[in-house]
Every structure is written in C-alpha cells, then in structure tokens.
C-alpha cells in the first residue's frame, strides 16, 4: 500500500531528489541505524550502507528491505545489501520462503502493537488489495529513535520560521504541514519515551494549530506514555494512514530547498514516511480554499481518489401499465378539468423512457422484482405526486412537527415511511416503537391456528388474515439490548430495520410485529442502518469503521466497505441503489460502489463528525451535516464541494431534499428547522479547470440561500421527511429539562 503511495511521489519528485540522497545519508550517518533519505527507492541502498544488523529487530528490517528491493527488481542492490549486512542467502531464503504470511505476521506484530491494530491494518490493506504485504514502509512507520529529542523544538520552530517568512501565496499552502508534522513529531517523542520533551513540545506548539483540530489535540494532549499509544485508535489511524496534503509544485520545491539547505532531515523523514504530498502544477491555493477542504483526520482526499466514474443518474422507472386511467378519469371528471392532467402524464412517461446518460446499467446491481403490491404503491405515489406542490423560494413548505412526548427513555432515532403512514422511533431503553399516523390502526397477522380457519379463496384474504383484536395505534418491538441508534423502514412498509449498541442489526416484520433476523457482524455499536430505495439490500455502519452491505435473506454481509479511519456515524443509499454514502467521525464522507466495494469518492472538508446525509432526488448531489452545524453540498460527478450552508448552531441531525429537490431542509440539535434554496445552491458552473484541479471557490452566500428558520420549543430535530405532496414532516423528542 505504502509502496504505491511512494511511487506517486517518486514520479513527481524523483528527478530533483536523487542527487541529494547521498547528501542526506552523509548528514545523517550518525543519526541512527535506519535513516531514510528523501526518496524511498534511491535511499534504500544508502540506508543499508549505514545500517548494521544489531539485533533481531534490525534483521527483520533488513529482510523487509531486501524483499522490497527484490520486488523492485534492484538485484544489484540486493547483492550489495546482503554482502554488507552479512546476511546469508539461506537465512534470507528461509525467512522469505517460510511464506509471506509468517514473516508478515511477525512484522505486523512488531509494528502494530495490540490486536486492534492488526485488524485495523488488515482492514485497510484488504481494501487496497492483497498484493500489499507489510513491508519496508510499514516497518518504518513504527517510530524509531531519530535525532536528538531536544532538537525537535528547534526543527519545528525552524520550519515554522521559514514558512512564516515565505511569500503569502506559499505560506498558506505550506502551513498545511504544521499539523501533521506537529502530531508526528509529538508521537515520535512519546513513542521513544521522551515524555518531558514531548510535553514541552506540545505546550509550545499546540497553540499554533488550526482551531478545527482542537478535538484531536485534546486526545493527543492526554497521551504522554508509549503504553498509551497501544489501543488508541485515533493515533493508530494517524500512523497507519498517510496524511494527504495538496501542495503546488512551486511551494513544494520551496520547502524542499529549504529543508535541504538546513539539512533538516528529521522533518524531511517525517514528510517522506508519514505524509503524502499530492503535488499539482499551477497556482498555489489560497488560505480559504485550503481551509474549506481540510479538517479531516487524514488530510484531504487525493485527487485520483475522486476520479473514478460514478453513475449517479437514476434508474429507469419500471413501466407500469396503469389501470388507474379509469380511476383517474373519474377523479378528473369530479374535478372538472380533465385536459390539464393528461399531457402532464405523458410528460412523465416520456421522461421516464429516456435513459439518463449518467445512469448505471439497469441490471448493474440485481434488484428485486416488483410485486403487485409494489406496483400498486408506485401508482399511488405517482397519483400523489401529481398533487404535489411545487416548492420554491416563494412557496415554502408547510411543516408538521411530530413531537415524541414522555420519551423518558430517550429518543435516539426516527424514521417515517415514504408514504408517511407510519412513524417509528428507536429509544435508548432498547425498544423500537411504531405508530400509525393515519387512522388505520396497526394489526398483527392472526396466529397459525387461526390462519388455518380462514377461507383462502376469498377476495379479501389479505384483510382476513389480520387479527382485529390486536389493533392499536402503536406497537412496541422488544429485542435489542442497547440503545437503538438507527432505524429504517423498507420501501414496501413490510419490514423495519433497527441497529443498536448491542452490535446487531435486526429486521422486524410489520405484519407480525416480531423480530425476523438479527444480523451479527459488527461486534461493536452499530450507529446507523438504511434500506436501499428498492428494498432487499441494506447498509449498516458503526464503531468498527466498516460499513457492511447486507441482503435481507443473507445472514452474512455481501460487501464490507473499509477505509474510514473512525466510526461510521451515518449511512445512506444513493437513489439508484448502486452506491452507498457513509459519513464518519473521521470527518469525511465516502461514496462506495455497491458492485465492487470500491471507494469511489472521498469528500473532506467537514470539521466535525458527520451525522446526517442526504442525496438529492436526481442523484447528482449529496448533502452532509456535521456536529459543527455546517451543511456541505457535494457534486458527485465531479467529486467537488459546491456549497457550504452555515446557520445552525449545533449538530445537524437531519437533512432532506424536497421531492423535486428545490428545497433542502435541515434539522438540528439547536431546535430549528432551516430551509435552504437548493436550486440556487446547485446553480454553480463547474468549469473544466476546477473539475480537473479540484480547486474550489466557495461563495459565502449562506444567508442568501437560507429561506427560513423555524423554531421548535425545547425539541431537537432529529428527523425530516417530505411527504409525496411536499409537506415537510419533522420529528424530535420533547426535552423537558
């Protein structure tokens, strides 16, 4: 994995760095056993020269280097290294032939302290592909004794002085280096048991970091012992993943020249080992451009990470022979304006027939076939849709608020069916409660014995199977053993999914109101789950940082989406069901391809854990809301941030687009619902240059886009839903404290 990354840098920087390799080594020859020069490839031999096998650990390293060289086909170097290190061929061969598994396992154990680390690395590596055996760079990613700990401050402040003295245009770019360097230097100090130096270093420089890294710094400040690094996930993430920076070529060369002049190997090493510098040609970015994209746990997304083609178009609606025409005629006759409706219908039909060029193949993902009841429902929804109110800045939706009263147990999640007939709440006392919003009561199916008695040929058999005695306005579902954090209705309203702290996702039948399946896989709290818009599939994500794709009839996940560096806090299906978006506490949104499990988009820019996601109805955009109260809008096709909506003062827990996508509603902990002009927000021309470079200019027009702020009384808004006629439903638990 790391080798691949290095390769990227090499291609960019090989020419310039090669001559310096020897210099570096010379300058650092006394520094330590394993000093690396700027370029991984060219320095491998240099490092070997300086190195002498002094212990079993060192030998492991050398073996890893040998392996790397072999794979890189640098056979001469292999020979030289072997000779110099005094390694016998046999040893080497036996070690390597023992099988990569054994060797890598021991390496792994050495590198990643603790079992959690191993799983973590395994997770990340599996996602990258099997060829990524742990090798040189992973071995070296364990912090080793390098340089004098007392000089770290000097190094850092030297760089700081340099960056502060460069031209403004470069300063903003190079300032990005501060945070990752600071963290790595601090960790290095801690890892090598220089506790006092680490503390002094932290106190001196932690104030310089950007304010949005405050939470991370707080975690960091508590960590002063090597032992504590074991099992601290945040830090493991930092060590195992490279922090990605985007820097223009000019700035980068400026930096490199400086570091070479100063012989500042310490920093150069960290940059080489732990940072990934994505160099681009052209103008350096401005401070605001950088700020809008940074903030995530692992820096910005790499440019090539967002280059994959995404089929964001909608699937073709299945053509349904509409027997409702007669009904419609009747209705029209009643209303007395039959002419107006007919052409509308035709329009709808023709639109559906055209295949969206950006849409995936209809059968790219196998989708369940429509049942008769589904078709009926489709017809119903189409009929409703004709009565839909066209929203806009001048016609704002009406808002109905569903207040959960007496929710002493703590309301943790809410969902509403697409036709707005049922509402369900997940509670902290492990219960799931379902209410009927319409006068139609909730009824269970009769018991098996009673079912035997009914006439199966009767027309109203579906009505007869229901047990009238059980009719009630609400039902309680017991089964979980922890707070229910996520809840989702199936599109056909027959099932309900709930995810809980107990590590399971449960599937409930809304016919019998019993639990059908408990999906086990996440061994840690599952924060969110959601059904696919076509049913059958669902996605779940939780504390184990892996999102899983399931099908209701499989007890094991179909796909595992690994890559997030912290908890997955929310999951959402793309309207065409081919993609899944996940928001995470690592402050990125990722888009995964359901077909092959690849991560096709990484959106960085949030400054806090992301708690809500929403796709626009046309599938082109996604909105995400985070604990910092900001809502960010992303263009999926280009992989760019296209808007920032500021206004909320607390975590945004709910986002929803209106049925036609004109309005984005956001609901927050601060007890407000805000409506935003989505059409205007998306009315951004993305030119080729921006699309190619990924440099965005965000207009600061939140105030213009904000159409309204609607207050609740002591009630955080945790769910939003637009009915088929574009009435906005909001829900939350009344908080009496």
């Amino acid at each position: 994995m790391a080798a691949v990354q290095d390769g990227q840098v090499e291609s960019d920087a090989e020419k310039e760095t090669k001559p310096d390799a020897s210099n570096d080594v010379a300058g650092n020859s006394s520094g330590g056993a394993r000093s690396m020069s700027p370029n991984a490839a060219s320095s491998a031999s240099g490092a070997a020269k300086a190195a002498a096998p002094t212990g079993p650990g060192e030998q492991q390293t050398l073996l890893a280097v040998l392996q790397f060289l072999k794979r890189s086909k640098l056979l001469e170097s292999v020979d030289i290294l072997r000779r110099e290190a005094g390694l016998s061929d046999e040893l080497d061969e036996s070690q390597t032939n023992d099988g990569a598994a054994a060797g890598s396992a021991s390496l792994l154990r050495r590198v990643s302290v603790g079992g959690a680390a191993a799983t973590n690395i395994a997770a990340t590596t599996t996602s990258k592909g099997a060829e990524d055996q742990p090798d040189v760079s992973i071995v070296l990613s364990a912090y080793s004794q390098q340089g004098d700990p007392a000089l770290y401050q000097v190094y850092y402040s030297g760089l700081k002085n340099f960056i502060e003295s460069v031209l403004d245009c470069h300063r903003a770019e190079l300032s990005q280096l501060f945070y990752p360097l600071f963290v790595h230097m601090y960790l290095e100090l801690v890892y090598n048991n220089h506790e006092h130096e680490a503390k002094v270093f932290f106190e001196k420089f932690s104030g310089d970091q950007e304010c949005y890294y405050r939470d991370d710094l707080r975690v960091l400040s508590g960590l002063t012992k090597k032992e504590h690094m074991k099992g601290n996930e945040t830090l493991l993430d930092f060590r195992t993943s490279k922090f990605v920076l985007r820097i223009s070529r000019d700035s980068y060369q400026l930096l490199k020249r400086h570091l070479q002049e100063r012989q500042n190997n310490q920093i150069w090493l960290i940059i080489q080992e732990h940072l990934y510098i994505d160099i681009f040609d052209g103008m350096p970015r401005s401070k605001s451009q950088i700020d809008s994209m940074s903030g995530s746990l692992a820096g910005e997304a790499r440019r090539e990470a967002n280059k994959a083609k995404v089929y964001y178009g909608l699937l073709k609606e299945p053509e349904i022979e509409v027997p409702l025409d007669d009904e419609d005629d009747e209705a029209e006759n009643e209303e007395g304006k039959p002419k107006k409706k007919k052409p509308k219908k035709d329009n709808l039909g023709s639109k559906n027939k055209k295949q969206d060029p950006n849409a995936p193949q209809q059968n790219r993902i196998p989708l369940p076939e429509l049942k008769d009841s589904d078709k009926l429902d489709k017809i119903m929804s189409m009929k409703e849709a004709t009565k839909k109110i066209r929203l806009g800045p001048d016609t704002l939706p009406s808002i109905c608020f569903y207040t959960f009263l007496n929710a002493y147990q703590g309301l943790t999640s809410v969902d509403v069916t697409d036709d707005s007939s049922l509402i369900a709440g997940g509670f902290a006392d492990s219960t799931v409660r379902v209410w009927s919003v319409t006068p139609k009561k909730l009824r269970k199916v009769k018991s098996a014995a009673d079912l035997n008695l009914i006439d199966k040929e009767a027309d109203d058999v579906l009505e007869r199977i229901m047990d009238e005695k059980t009719a009630s306005e609400s039902k309680i579902l017991y089964g979980h053993s922890g707070p229910v954090y996520g809840i989702s209705f199936s599109p056909d309203r027959n099932y309900l999914l709930s995810s809980s702290e107990d590590g399971t996702v449960r599937l409930w039948s809304l016919q019998t109101f019993t639990c059908l399946v408990g999906y086990k896989g996440h061994n840690y709290p599952v924060w969110d789950t959601q059904f696919s818009p076509y049913g059958y599939y669902f996605v779940s994500g939780g504390h184990d940082r892996i999102a899983r794709l399931w099908a209701t009839d499989h007890y094991q996940p179909l796909r595992m989406f690994a890559g997030h560096l912290a908890d997955i806090t929310c999951t959402h299906f793309h309207p065409n069901s081919n993609y899944v978006a996940t928001g995470s506490a690592d402050r990125t949104v990722r888009l995964w391809d359901v077909l092959n499990g690849n991560c096709v988009r990484i959106f960085s820019g949030h400054k806090g854990p992301i708690h809500s996601l929403a796709f626009s109805p046309n599938g082109k955009y996604v909105a995400s809301g985070a604990t910092d109260g900001r809502v960010l809008l992303w263009d999926i096709g280009h992989g760019l941030m296209i808007g920032e909506l500021k206004g909320h003062t607390d975590t945004v827990y709910a986002l929803k687009f209106s049925r036609d996508g004109e309005i984005l509603a956001s609901g927050s902990m601060d007890g407000t619902v805000r409506l935003w002009d989505a059409l205007k927000a998306f009315d951004v021309e993305t030119d080729d240059f921006t699309a190619a470079t990924g440099h965005i200019h965000l207009p600061d027009n939140s105030q213009e886009l904000l159409l309204g702020t609607y207050m609740t009384k002591s009630t955080p808004v945790i769910h939003l839903h637009f009915t088929r006629r574009n009435l906005l439903l909001a829900a939350g638990g009344y908080n009496s404290q």
Binding site: G222, L396, I399, N406, T712, K713
Partner: protein
C-alpha cells in the same frame, strides 16, 4: 498552553489512599505511574462516552454513557449513579475533600409507603402543524383548536387541580397553581385545554375577580419557557383583547374597578406581543386594527374606548402615533360632548369620559416624549447640527411663520425607530404612513389638551442634544383650554394636572377630585427663582427654547413653559431632560400618580443609538437597559 490543566487529575496521594484502603502498599514511583495512567484512562473513557451521547442526540453526558464506554473497553461499569437528577457534590468541612452526597434510603418506609407512585406517562407522538406555507399558523381568530389528544390520567388530574385552584377561593392556592403553570415543563399537552378555559372570559364577564384570575393564567402560560404557544397566541390575544375592549357586564356597576382590569390586560397584551408576537405573522397589525375599530366606533361605551387607548399605549408610542393620534380630532368631539354635559344623569358617563381623557393624555404625553427622545439621538452628532436645529426651533414661532422646523432629522429619526420596532415586532409593514413631525404634533395635541399637556424641560447634564421643537400655537386653536384658563375658574379639565400654573377651581360637578399635587419639578429644585407665568395670558407662550443665553436673547423671553423658569446653570452645551408629573384622577381610585422622568440617563447617552434601538423590541423582558424604559413606558403600570 493550558491544555493540560483542563483535565481533572488524579493525584499520587489519591492513588496511595485507594491502595491503602485496598490493603496494598504502593511506593511513590508506582503511585505516580498509576496516577498518570488512571488519568489517561479516565480521559479516554470520557472521550469515548461522548460519542454515545452524540448518537443519543443529547447534549448532556449521562452516567449511562460513561458506563457504556467503560463496558466497551472491558472495564466494570459504575453502578448506583443512574439517576437523572444532578448529584449534589459537597465539600467536607475539614480539608479539601469533596464527595457525592449519598443518603441512606429507608427501604422499609419505601416499601410500606401508601402512596404508590404512578408509572410514567405513556410515550406518544403528537403532531402539530407548526408552520403553514413557511409562515406561522393561520387559524381563524379567536377559535380554540379542538383538543385532539386523549389525556393521560395524571394530566387530567393536574388540569382539574390547576383550574380549580386558579378559579377557586383560596388565594394562596391560586398563587401556587399559577407559579406551577409558569414553570412546569410537562404541560404542553394541556395547553389547548388551558387556552380553552381562558377563552371562557366571555362567560364570566360579570365577575371581575374571575376575569382577573384568567388573565393571570394567561400570564403564567405566556411566561412558561417550555410551552410553545404557536397558534394559540392568537386565541390568548383574543381573550385578552376581550378584557381590554369589551363593555364587560361587570362595568355596569360603577363600584367595580374594571379600569384596573383593563390596564392589566393591556399590559399583558403588550407582554404577549413582545415575547410571542413573532409566532403569528401580522399579529401586531391585527391588534392595531381591532383597537382602531373600537376607537372609531362612537356607539361603543367609553370604557371600551378607554381600553383601546390603554391598549395602544401599552403597545408602545409608535402604536399611539399611528392609531390614536390621527384619530384624535374625530374622537375629540365625542369626548368633548360627554365632558361638557353637566347634567346629573350624565355624571357617571362623564366620569368615564374623564378616565378616557386621562388615558389619552398619558398616552399622548409619552408619545411626545419618546418622539422627542428619538430626535435627540441623531442630534447628538455635532455641535453644528445642534446649533442649527436649535436655531430652527427658536425661529419657528408664530411671529415668523416662514421658518419651519428642520424636517430631515425629525422624520429620519422617527423612521429609524419605526423600522426597529417593526423588525422586533410582528413585521407588520408600515406602509404609506409618514410620521407627523413633532412640532406639528405638539401643536395639534396642545389644541386638545392645553396646559395639561405636561411636557416640561429642565436642564440636565446628560441628555445632550437639542430638544425638539415645540412651537407655539395660535391662540384660537386652543379653544376651550385657553378660554377656560382665561376664565380662570371653570376649568373642568383637570385630569392630569401639572405644574403650578393651574389653579384648581372647586369642581362644579362635585365629583370627588382630589387636588393635584404640587408640581414635582418645582419641588425637586427648590430655591430657584420661580418665574411663575400667569396662565391667564391668552397669548402664545408655549415653545421650547434652548437654554443658551445667546439664543435666548434672540427671542423674547416669554417662556411660560416650566423649563424657562430655571435659568441655565452654566453656559455649557444645552442638555435637557423631561419630567412629566402629575396625578391622574380617577373617580374612585385615589388618583394614580404618574410621573415619568426622562431626565439624566447616563447609560442612554453612553449607548450608541443603534444599540439602544436594538434593545427596543425586547421590552417586557428582563434586561437591564430595558427595565428603565419600562417604567417610563408603562406609566399606567400596575403592580402585577
């Protein structure tokens, strides 16, 4: 960096103590290491627990969250702290030792207790149309939305108890009930019921006491911070308006002090409006309209008119300016007719007329005052502008009709305030309405009230700026007042009296008016030459002038206005303050004193006008600068 100190630390000694209590001897070094590790683990657990809080969509970290974090890191959970209430954390007397209070619970008593606690109410979902078309809910005025929900046993009981207590006999019980209504956070479901009860004002219009209690109920509901009134505001407002405006059955008996009720209701109205006016769009406008309607309806009894006037007054001087002032000429004729009828049969009506007169006077006085104040703000700018304005003021007199008061600053100031009001209020558009410049307004008002219009000027050190032009008035315009004054004896217009220039004649109609108090201003500044002006002169007297000697010489010093009685103490920049004093006569009440001092207000002057105006809409809430205002704002203030 003080980052490190933000964390609680477990000291080495604590670790040692714990170890000792567990029977283990721990060395210094070990204790130090352990302490550090414990700190780190605690921090880690705290950080982990916060994500449980975030996912539970809460702001408050609970013990449960922390326990979950502990459980997931394979640590035993802490038991016994699951209560929702905050635990009292107390210091021990000796030493710096803190502990959580842990009282013994007598289980026997608990088990044998006779009052078996009810279970919690059932969790339920209630739907409410919060915003229609993105606006506040629009329901027909005055209707109470049918209460849709079925109430739990407990709520029903609560409702019965509360209504019984409020409408019952025991004043203490009522107080308790009202207080609970004001602070209870769990009565949202009962709101429609209470609103319905309150809408019963119409059925108890014969009973002042009950009306009063219902109004208090409104107040409690309005002040409850947990209640979202939503569209019920409209219903509440209509109930309150009923108390203000309707000729209540109780007012047939002159012994009933329905005036106080109306005053209180007016106050409440303004309170509702300022605190909840934003819930219903156009509320302000609607209130104004209905008040105006009543005022313009001559068939209505005088007590309704009185209500309309105090209502306007309570809504602020802008409302007075917009509705009452333009309406005054038309209304005056009616009132005049009532007041001029000396027949015995008319005595009662006449007394009512006096009430209305008094109310109008108070309202108008504040209007003038506030307008003047709003003018003085922009004029603070520079000496030059001040000079010019002062000159203009001086010049604008009867003898030199060619000069007009500087219109720009006046109108600007007026509009400025208006726009703030509007922003803070219901957002009611002040379309096509231009404020009358202050001088003209004063002239007109003077024509009605004559000397009773008690705007006085005195020098004060703080309120800098030119005082508004209060120009003179043609003598013939002030019909009866001046005539009466000239007659000297038959001055029957005695409601709010002021200053010493009014000699009270014995009342011809024999109504029990008390003597007006001596002018407060004169009393407050004794030993000054008291240039008493004779009110017998029918010539033009009233005008304001700046107290600068230079300017005084410019005009003949015919100042009858009280301000002129006091020569300026020094030739500093002119600064003024108002004092309106007097006593408003009521027939039965002993005459409420109204004194609105507008004098030295250091914070006023120090505040930039913008900030000050910004504070304006929150009148009625408890914030300091506004408080001062409210006392002048509600000269009809009654102790609630």
């Amino acid at each position: 960096m003080a980052e490190e100190r933000r964390f609680a630390e477990v000291s080495r000694d604590s670790v040692k103590l714990m170890a000792e209590s567990a029977g283990v001897e721990v060395g210094d070094e070990v204790a130090a290491l352990l302490a550090e590790d414990v700190c780190y683990r605690l921090r880690e657990a705290a950080q982990n627990s916060s994500q449980f809080m975030r996912h539970a969509k809460r702001r408050k970290l609970t013990v449960e969250d922390f326990n979950r974090a502990l459980r997931w890191s394979n640590v035993e959970a802490v038991c016994g702290y699951g209560a929702q209430d905050a635990l009292p954390f107390r210091p021990a007397k000796e030493g710096e030792l803190f502990f959580v209070e842990d009282r013994d619970v007598n289980l026997v008593n608990l088990a044998l207790a006779t009052n078996i606690p009810n279970g919690c109410a059932e969790t339920m979902v209630r739907v409410h149309v919060s915003y229609l078309d993105g606006k506040g809910n629009l329901e027909p005025q005055g209707t109470v939305p049918s209460a849709v929900q079925s109430l739990s046993e407990d709520l029903l009981k609560y409702y019965q108890q509360i209504t019984r207590a409020i409408l019952g006999e025991d004043p203490h019980l009522m107080k308790v009930a009202l207080l609970d209504l004001q602070t209870n956070s769990k009565i949202a479901a009962l709101l429609p019921y209470f609103v319905y009860v309150i809408s019963g004002v119409k059925s108890v219009s014969h009973d002042l006491e009950q009306l009063n209690r219902l109004l208090h109920m409104v107040k409690s509901l309005v002040q409850n911070p947990y209640l979202y009134l939503g569209s019920y505001v409209r219903s509440l407002v209509s109930s309150v308006m009923y108390c203000i405006l309707e000729p209540l059955a109780a007012s047939i008996n002159p012994l009933n002090d329905h005036w106080t009720l109306r005053d209180y209701a007016a106050l409440l109205l303004s309170h509702i409006f300022w605190t909840h006016g934003d819930l219903v769009s156009g509320l302000y406008h609607q209130i104004l309209l209905s008040l105006q309607k009543v005022l313009s309806d001559p068939v209505r009894p005088l007590c309704s008119h009185y209500g309309a006037v105090v209502g306007l007054h309570a809504l602020g001087w802008k409302a007075v300016e917009r509705v009452l002032y333009p309406h005054l000429p038309a209304y005056w004729a009616n009132l005049q007719a009532v007041l001029d009828d000396y027949s015995v049969s008319n005595a009662q009506v006449k007394a009512d007329g006096h009430k209305v007169y008094g109310a109008i006077l108070v309202a108008v006085e504040r209007l003038l005052k506030m307008k003047a104040l709003s003018l003085s703000k922009p004029a603070e700018g520079g000496v030059g502008g001040q000079q010019g304005t002062a000159g203009g003021v001086l010049g604008f007199r009867e003898s030199s009709p060619g000069l007009s008061p500087p219109p720009e600053p006046l109108s600007e100031a007026g509009l400025g305030i208006a726009s703030h009001l509007q922003a803070g209020g219901a957002g009611c558009p002040w379309e096509d309405w231009t404020p009358v410049p202050l001088p003209a307004m004063y002239c007109e008002l003077y024509s009605f009230f004559g000397d009773s219009l008690a705007v006085r000027f005195s020098t004060g050190p703080e309120l800098e700026g030119c005082l508004p032009a209060l120009p003179c008035q043609p003598a013939d315009a002030r019909k009866e007042t001046v005539a009466n004054a000239a007659a000297g004896l038959d001055n029957s217009r005695k409601m709010p009296q002021l200053t010493a220039n009014l000699n009270i004649s014995p009342r011809p109609d024999g109504s029990p008016h008390t003597e007006p108090p001596p002018p407060s201003l004169a009393a407050t500044i004794p030993g000054r030459p008291f240039a008493r002006s004779s009110s017998s002169s029918s010539s033009v007297q009233r005008r304001s002038s700046s107290s600068r000697p230079g300017q005084r010489s410019a005009g003949p010093s015919r100042d009858v206005f009280p301000k002129a009685r006091f020569p300026p103490p020094q030739a500093g920049p002119p600064s003024f303050s108002f004092l309106i004093g007097g006593r408003q006569m009521g027939r039965r009440c002993q005459g409420r004193r109204f004194q609105t001092s507008f004098g030295p207000q250091p914070p006023l002057a120090s505040l930039p006008p913008r900030a000050y105006a910004h504070k304006l809409p929150v009148i009625g809430r408890v914030s300091k600068p506004v408080r001062r205002w409210t006392c002048s704002h509600y000269s009809l203030h009654l102790p609630l």
